[in-house]
Assembly symmetry: C2
Homo-oligomer: 195 residues x 2
Amino acid sequence: MNFLEQRILKDGVVKAGNVLKVDSFLNHQMDVALLKAMGQEFHRRFAHKKITKVLTIESSGIAVAYPVAEAFGVPMVFAKKAKSINIDGDVYVAEVPSFTHKVTNQVIVSKKFLSSEDHVLIIDDFLANGYALQGLISLVEAADATVEGLGIAIEKGFQEGGKRMRNLGYHLESLAIVESMSAETGEIVFQAQEA
Amino acid sequence: MNFLEQRILKDGVVKAGNVLKVDSFLNHQMDVALLKAMGQEFHRRFAHKKITKVLTIESSGIAVAYPVAEAFGVPMVFAKKAKSINIDGDVYVAEVPSFTHKVTNQVIVSKKFLSSEDHVLIIDDFLANGYALQGLISLVEAADATVEGLGIAIEKGFQEGGKRMRNLGYHLESLAIVESMSAETGEIVFQAQEA
């Protein structure tokens, strides 16, 4: 079991509705030492790739992507979830169905910050149905840039997003893959990974 | 002139409506090496303070706060701008008038992550009218925690937020204070700072 899986067992809380709360160390309060170690692990797993840019999505992806960008020595870019008054009109746009599936949100990134020369490592904190990740991939493809890999902190292995990304041929690395979890017992079971 | 002021002169763009665009290195695309240096500079300026937690607000505050938390070796917490389905009901809430002054938004932080034992350094990327910063201060005060300082990347010195914070007695450190800027000429003038 790796350091992130251990931390999830220690401080993660399973809630009804397939919710895994990791807000004490990953996406509300953040343990920067843990994030740093995660960044180094992503760097190890994608070390053979030529990465020119790390792309993530606001808000909780930013602190996961930061140490990855630091490890690779490249800029990071975060996609924004809605049109902001501080963004130029010249943006790439992708549609992302929301968690509730009732509405579709837009994610945007300025055209200035993704080009056909870029080799992009996409980073996010969670992967469940994969809609957000698909939106980020669409932004990279809209720029004719190359998706070199997808790095996820916690994948919900019992939802379809990870399988779909791997079937599409993407190099997806998830530091922790939850195989099953129970809000009743609090039990969390991870999928075995190679060391 | 310090390294951040130099970078603003090099890559910042003044737009009409008192907008200073720094999205190529600070709040859309991010230069992680620059952020790291900023984190070390904030640490130097607040080194005499006992800091137990760094508090910021999503989204662009997160990457500014990260290296500060790293330098102090403490957790960071980011306040959220609206009620999220992933947040427990047990939150501190502050009201923040929006940029347009037409609506009021809520910022929230889970009560789990701020306590009366905490000595908080509040970090954000911009300070203009100070409403967001006032909201963060209110969250800290609601927890009976102590505001040890306010660290800002770029203060618009021609707006009232910084003056108000200093008049209230807060220890405010802004790495760059814009005294004046012109969308017509592109000129940016910084307030002189002690080395």
